[in-house]
């Protein structure tokens, strides 16, 4: 089961995680920081999931109660229904975390498990622990905390692709070419990405294998080779080419060979996104004078206008659940916000209201979105739950664009 996300209630289970005790002799400041980060990462994961509210330690409580130690009852008074307490000890080159999860009122032990990890990979351990807590308290397995986001990060004049953990941590480069590298799109296998690079001067499509970051040019036709979208089964790519004189959508093999031209119109057609059943494609076109989102059948027929509200609607992203299409719309103040709409045009919902927001993309469970947002003069990545709650800034320092949320890791 891939995440228990069929329904979402406003209720968030209040849970507390106490700082674990260290039993292993002397402690370096570095390891102390790692341990603090480990626990905080678990809290952030639980909070991100949308199922939990994190109850925080409150020193005032201890003062009021005239005690020096938080206990089960104390956490219950602060509102927590479940409490995690732990002990960390050295284990080989890493550490072992023994974690007990119990009900604060009943004292019922939900689980008592040990997790081992390496110091330099402590965040992965934290994601596993969070996944276990969700499994025991909500009954569904989720691998969302082990997913990654590919995005462009500008440093100086170069825009390179980076991989980030789902929470924006551990940004690491996967291209290093100078010039412009944008618009990554994952294959469902999670082992490769197609993207647009100017490394040879023209915006061309390249394929990147993540196991060694090797690349291969797949479309360098004159003009645009941009906006790739990978077919849900990984067999094809839909991309924007202007080789025939104007930006049109084409169906390509993974090798870049043209399978079929999909659109025929003198206006701009770009930003394709494919429904998870592979039957429809949504895209942006300015055929009515301004950019609007349209849908069409997978063979290019039966084109229908999807968006009607607003004069600039673009950047559609079809939810992996199939029932919503996210896109951005320009408001009266000139800034862009993320909206979602059903593929039949019903149920328009606005998700963001701050900054100017672009390039939404869905998490593999269809429960969250990542997007780039210009706020305070910097463009950073944010995540948000599909209903517009739980908005989180996941990068700092600016320069982040065109995020793409990767699939679940393969076992």
């Amino acid at each position: 089961m891939q995440g228990r996300v069929t329904t979402k209630s406003a209720y968030r289970l209040p849970v507390a995680l106490q700082e674990p005790e260290w039993s292993g002799g002397s402690m370096t400041p570095e390891k102390q920081l790692i341990l603090a980060d480990l626990i905080e990462t678990i809290r952030q994961d639980l909070s991100f999931s949308g199922y939990f509210k994190i109850v925080r330690f409150d020193s005032l409580y201890l003062k009021l109660m005239g005690t020096s130690q938080m206990d089960r009852k104390g956490w219950s008074h602060l509102g927590a229904e479940y409490l995690g307490t732990g002990r960390v000890s050295p284990s080989g080159d890493g550490f072992r975390l023994l974690l007990k999860l119990e009900g604060t009122l009943s004292g019922e032990v939900i689980f008592e498990k040990s997790f081992t990890g390496l110091w330099e990979r402590s965040r992965q351990t934290a994601h596993q622990v969070a996944g276990e807590i969700i499994y025991y308290l909500w009954g569904g397995r989720t691998l969302i905390f082990e997913t990654q986001i590919a995005a462009t990060w500008q440093k100086g004049n170069a825009k390179n692709l980076y991989l980030l953990d789902y929470d924006g941590h551990r940004a690491r480069p996967i291209t290093n070419y100078g010039e412009i590298n944008i618009s990554p799109c994952w294959f469902p296998s999670g082992d490769r990405i197609v993207f647009t690079s100017y490394r040879e001067g023209n915006p061309d499509l390249w394929l990147l294998l993540l196991k060694n970051n090797s690349t291969q040019k797949i479309s360098a036709r004159p003009g645009l080779n941009t906006a790739p979208a990978v077919w849900p089964d990984g067999r094809y790519i839909v991309a924007t080419l202007s080789v025939d004189g104007n930006a049109e959508l084409y169906l390509l093999a993974e090798s870049g060979k043209t399978v079929r031209r999909l659109t025929h119109h003198p206006a701009i057609e770009s930003e394709p996104t494919i429904s998870p059943d592979g039957k429809q494609i949504a895209f942006t076109s300015d055929r009515l004078g301004q950019p609007q989102v349209f849908t069409m059948d997978a063979d290019g027929g039966n084109i229908r206008r999807l968006t009607y509200q607003g004069s600039y609607n673009a950047s559609p992203a079809w939810s992996p659940r199939g029932d919503r299409i996210a896109y951005v719309s320009r408001g009266e103040t000139g800034t862009f916000d993320v909206y979602t709409i059903a593929p039949d045009g019903s149920g328009l919902a606005r998700l963001t209201s701050k900054g100017s927001n672009e390039n939404p993309d869905w998490s593999p469970d269809g429960y969250h979105l990542v997007f780039s947002s210009l706020r305070g003069g910097e463009r950073n990545l944010f995540t948000i739950t599909y209903d517009g709650t739980n908005e989180r800034q996941i990068t700092d320092g600016g320069g982040f664009t065109t995020p793409a949320w990767g699939p679940y890791p393969r076992p």
């Binding site: 412009i180 600039y312 862009f336």
Partner: protein, 171 residues
């Protein structure tokens, strides 16, 4: 006729500039041998002269940038004026080839703006071709919103960034 006159004016300007004393450039003009690859960065080789053989292209030949309205690729009248001047220059220096770079401001999506930038570059190219410039002397490329001249987030920056730049490719 106007091209001839313009040629003369530019030639005069070039002579004045050279008289200002750039010996290496003069040397380059006199020599027809290709530079040896072992040598330190050579001065730019002299551009080949056209058949009438009377004029070299100045290195700093000026081609004007044109500007666009938001989310538009139609040519405004001032853009057409600038393109007419660029066409005159290209008509004079027939060995010059250019790439037209289409650019957008940041307000819009990355991928749509790549297509919009291409529309702008091609609108400029088509206008030059209509004015008699050979299409094979002009290449186009779009940078979308990726290469702003002004990184600001206000109209003062945006108006400068919605542009088509003309860069020589024969040098």
């Amino acid at each position: 006729m106007t091209f001839k006159l313009l040629r003369f004016v530019i030639l005069a300007a070039v002579i004045l500039a050279l008289a200002g004393g750039c010996s290496s450039k003069k040397k380059g003009v006199e020599s027809d041998t290709p530079p040896l690859t072992e040598e330190p960065p050579p001065p730019p080789p002299p551009p080949p002269t056209d058949e009438s053989g009377d004029l070299d292209t100045p290195a700093d030949l000026e081609l004007q940038t044109i500007y666009f309205e938001y989310d538009k690729y139609s040519l405004k009248s001032d853009a057409k004026d600038a393109l007419s001047k660029n066409a005159a220059t290209l008509g004079t220096y027939t060995e010059v080839t250019v790439v037209i770079e289409g650019h957008c401001d940041e307000r819009g999506t990355v991928e749509y703006n790549l297509a919009l930038g291409e529309k702008r570059a091609r609108a400029a190219r088509d206008y030059l071709v209509d004015l008699g410039i050979q299409a094979d002397r002009i290449r186009t490329i779009s940078y979308g919103e990726e290469r702003p001249v002004d990184p600001g987030h206000a109209e003062s920056a945006w108006s400068k960034n919605r542009r088509a730049d003309f860069l020589r490719t024969d040098q």
